[in-house]
Subunit: 106 residues, 2 copies
DNA sequence: CAAAAATACATCGCAATTCTATATATGCAA
DNA sequence: TTGCATATATAGAATTGCGATGTATTTTTG
């Protein structure tokens, strides 16, 4: 696992980007996707994931769709238009940031 | 300026890397260097820089050399051997992290 | 078939980090 | 002589992700 501090500030972009590229997803699924994509090196915990998703919902970047899976209730999250716009903004910001960091560390 | 949250966790690496590549530097100089390298988009503030440097000193990653410039005292910081080792470690960690983030955002 | 593991959601409070604001002081240019 | 850049430093505010915890269902495995 990475120094967890590195993840700070990047989590929101990752969540937005995942929802943007994959349409609706549920929390656990997003955590698993990141885990797999990162080769088990980025583990997004529930304590990070759900507060972030609920905050996005409050702001209006995501909406929730509830689905019944047997006796279980599954919450799908998906981006609103403003969420998609936010995603584009955050993504280009992150890319620019990475470029500059790479320039600094050579 | 970038979303300041992005900087979190990266500051220590930047400091170590600057000292590693440039030998001894003083706080203000490091902040200016990052400011210039980033085209004014990354501004490391005093309240971040000095606590970080003093923490590194406590740990033993940096040592301080004092120099008198006129009536002013300038504090040069430079890496110890363990600081250099830490720099290598953090740098490779950061590079790996960036690779994975780029993979996630495509 | 029973136990264990994975799936799935969620919250509370802590620890860690950086920034804002503030304080102090010198050197230089307009 | 006023203001800006240089230069160091700290206290407190704000934010964030995580650990711990809780609940409950489904799937796998021995």
């Amino acid at each position: 696992m990475f120094d967890k501090e590195l993840l700070k500030g990047i989590l929101p972009v990752i969540i937005l980007k995942l929802l943007n590229d994959n349409g609706k997803m549920y929390g656990y699924q997003m955590a698993q996707t990141v885990k797999n994509l990162s080769g088990d090196r980025i583990l997004i915990k529930e304590g990070s994931m759900y507060p972030a998703l609920h905050k996005f919902r409050e702001i209006g970047f995501v909406e929730i769709e509830t689905e019944n899976i047997g006796k279980r209730v599954r919450h799908y999250y998906y981006l609103t238009d403003s969420g998609k716009a936010e995603c584009r903004k955050k993504e280009s910001e992150l890319r620019a940031f990475i470029r500059i960091i790479q320039q600094i560390i050579g």
